[in-house]
Subunit: 245 residues, 2 copies
Amino acid sequence: MPRPPRTARDRILDAAERLFARRGFYGVSIRDITAAAGVDVALASYHFGRKQELFAAVLERRAAVLNELRLQRLEDCRKRGGSRGVSVEDIIDAFTHPLLERSARGGPGWKSYFALIAQINNSAEFGASMMTRHFDALVQHFMQALREVLPGCDERDLYWSYHFLTGALTLTFAETGRIDNLSGGVCRSNDLESVHERLVPFIAAGFRELCAGVAARAGKVRKHRLEKRVERVTPLRRRVAAAPR
Amino acid sequence: MPRPPRTARDRILDAAERLFARRGFYGVSIRDITAAAGVDVALASYHFGRKQELFAAVLERRAAVLNELRLQRLEDCRKRGGSRGVSVEDIIDAFTHPLLERSARGGPGWKSYFALIAQINNSAEFGASMMTRHFDALVQHFMQALREVLPGCDERDLYWSYHFLTGALTLTFAETGRIDNLSGGVCRSNDLESVHERLVPFIAAGFRELCAGVAARAGKVRKHRLEKRVERVTPLRRRVAAAPR
DNA sequence: AGAAACATTCAACAGTCGTTGAAATCTAGT
DNA sequence: ACTAGATTTCAACGACTGTTGAATGTTTCT
């Protein structure tokens, strides 16, 4: 069957997505994008206005799709689980699986999109505003789900655990190939199956550890764990040798 | 006492560090940098050659200092621990503490440096090459230390665990402020004390979980944990609805 | 067919980009 | 004081930047 004709608008979005993912917002010119899309330079301004708005359009395009997939998966596992059946693993999985699945099997457009997300999430300039705008409403749903399966968990522990999850997840999106070198080929950045298989239990264990720590703080369980922690981990405020200012 | 005169070369490095951290390599022009440093444009080329080399010089300046601090801390805890006394927490702490301590108390130059590292680590363009060049020799020392305290742990589990650690750590460096919005002020991005206090046990628990999983795979301990994991976590290969190509 | 809306092309704008060569100034060694 | 070398300034280069207005082509609806 004849594939539906890709409009100039879509071609620009696709090219922008691919190039922004590679070299960031400032590393790509409008002319780079329109040349890669095979269209006239002026069409970028015509369809999207300013460069920033084109960038925003790229981000927006797939965000809604992802949020729906993830929310759906969360509700599914809640329904499946019934009363008290849903685990931390289920929630982390609902949060990460749709993303890693898309990156692995959604085609090059999705791959670029996630690489771009990885950059933005770790950028001081775009990080807070753009990620917040597109994803934080969804994240609040997941935070609530986690609160329910980790009752009594301190809010700060909960949010910082989420922070660690996001960091591990977005670095995975970047697929920089660094782990390939580091491991001498034992691990491959693009083997997202293997990552997901490990990410879920790894992060879930972290969540449980922190919340158990809080319970211990209140003198309830696993006291020895916490004490060990407090003894071992040196506080941050400690003087060190001089170095470049 | 009169502070030692900062040379034009140093002023350029400082300005470059600050600006690159904010807007990345392409988002900053040589003129931006030299203007911020209060020196002539041509001095950048004179002292550093091409723009890429200036960028590399910024990265290199503090890398050696950090590597030495971290290695020192690793050896300290090994010495202190004696035979069988060193824990996963100790190693994670030696890996993260010097960095977070510098970011928290090293002054604005260090803060910028780590924000820059956060960007680079998650960039497809610079990620693998630059991080590998400056840090992977050190990382191998830590991998070996982890191998020793987690005997029998599968290499892939070990490397992917390290990957998660790096992701969580570098997102912390970015200090994007996203967690501030998300948590409604309960957490603050620049409260690195609180992060470190949680990062170490969180990541250590993840390491232990994965290695226990491997032991279980060999039919030795915690079998039920693994089965639970395998049941709960859906494999990545699963069809989903259509979306933009 | 004709009109209205949409899409595309071309040429050009005022700036900014990284980099350089030549001249001027400063510093250290004798 | 003289010189050799390192450092800084100034002016300029060709190429590239985002954006626009006017003209041209195409589709859609009555």
